[in-house]
Symmetry: C2
Subunit: 318 residues, 2 copies
Amino acid sequence: MNTSKRVVLFGRAAPRLYINEVAVRDGFQSEAGFVPTEDKIRLVNRLSRTGLAKIEVTSFVSPKAIPNLRDAEQVMRGIDRQPGVRYVALVPNERGSERALACGADEINLVMSIGESHNLANMRMTCEQSLAQFRRVMQVVRGSGMRVNGTVATAFGCPFDGDQPVCRLLWAVEQYLEMGMDSITLADTTGMAHPRQVSEVSRAFLDTFRGVEMTLHFHDTRGMGLANVIAGVAEGVAHFDASLGGIGGCPYAPGATGNICTEDLVHMLLSCGFETGVDLDALIDVAREMPAIVGHPVPGHVLQAGKRTELHARPVAA
Amino acid sequence: MNTSKRVVLFGRAAPRLYINEVAVRDGFQSEAGFVPTEDKIRLVNRLSRTGLAKIEVTSFVSPKAIPNLRDAEQVMRGIDRQPGVRYVALVPNERGSERALACGADEINLVMSIGESHNLANMRMTCEQSLAQFRRVMQVVRGSGMRVNGTVATAFGCPFDGDQPVCRLLWAVEQYLEMGMDSITLADTTGMAHPRQVSEVSRAFLDTFRGVEMTLHFHDTRGMGLANVIAGVAEGVAHFDASLGGIGGCPYAPGATGNICTEDLVHMLLSCGFETGVDLDALIDVAREMPAIVGHPVPGHVLQAGKRTELHARPVAA
């Protein structure tokens, strides 16, 4: 199909998009069963060769809080690093950042929910307490060369407190950047984002913080996940989190279901003609492992239906 | 959230959107079990009071071809008609149009796939044969006051022949309009449409056939269903088909899965601030019946997760 010059939907789209994989951390943390360390390492190694920009490998949290990621050191130390891929660990505090530093993570991810009630439920801290802790973490990692990404969780609504004002979201980002964080993720933790909101929030962010790397992290809880990506791409957002097979869901958020599915996301972006650097066939091949690894079917669509370009044999005429 | 004046994503959006329900025809026709006639009638009657624009009630096909719709006359005659709602029947031929006329359908829907292979598989006719049959149907209904909608199936790609040129789609629409059809549906029969394509096709249609009522009909086969709606809305398309609970799928199309889900669609459009005339709570209430009616879970998201505005009680502080 010819691309009409007058198409405006993607008029502001970035020339290149970047896909971050979160299944190994965000996905596995909420699985009922423990995913064996060797499966995690093999999965990261296979994902490393598909052209993804970032892989969130694990979380340096207390093993009591998230037993499924109790092998954080083993996984982070056991993987083969591909040049050009950023290997990220989520950390909740100074201790976590020290563990991430010791393992040579390329980047740590710090998370605060701007919904106070969700931050209390998820982090057991007020937002002010989270920000104070982030400042202490920044002291720990200063000068190490390890990047710091700050995630604004419940950015598109809190399941307890409802919609959050855009100015509160921008305030949180400003705090993050002032303390020296390198990049920002706006996370729709419980799948409340809708396309008009994504459009408005993305525009506000990109206008306010020009040149700052910003990632959108969506869940498909209410079916709007990929629609929200389109709204973000249309505004010029270039980085997107997704989870292989669409697994995941915040354990502390009622009704939260899986992240948007990486192979469905890449399939859509590729169909739309966007450059992501990801080898879709290689990615789908890795995704085929997911049901066996987690021990249940996964919600991804393309895994089941095949790519839109996979044509079927014509039926024999009756 | 304030609506910024500079938001362009929905810059061309129509002031009012219209939602058409297809579950009773497109959904039930592919169910393994027969849905009792009284369930169909009760469902249509309940749907009639939710603010939907159109309801596709049944199909006047041979009972041998689609046994699940063998009660077409009983359903069309048994429902209570609400003023302002259009009650539609799909018809394949002159005989079907005579049956629709006899039951006083407000509108008939004629379907041809522009993918020749799919039309042969689905209709057992070439496109030329389909068009010739449509002309005979137009003779039958002329002067009756019954509206005729023409559906271009596989408009966004044929599962056997692949992508169809936009000019072929526009050619089919031109044929439909020249023989006197009142409105057009572009159907993504097997879920191959992607947002950029929807944007381009919608723009081409709206530029070429100004003032013609055009409906987009999407399936969520590859997870892009609601993203495609956003692309259509952004271009100014005002009419969308959807299926309660997300049930459905063409029995003659390999890998085809359900239609986009009506309550998920209305939830997204309402969240985005669009006027659809549909009472979302009433619609969700009807959708709750679907799993029991079809005897299996349905894929709709909002039915499971609740509306984004349904907040949860704050957890008690630890």
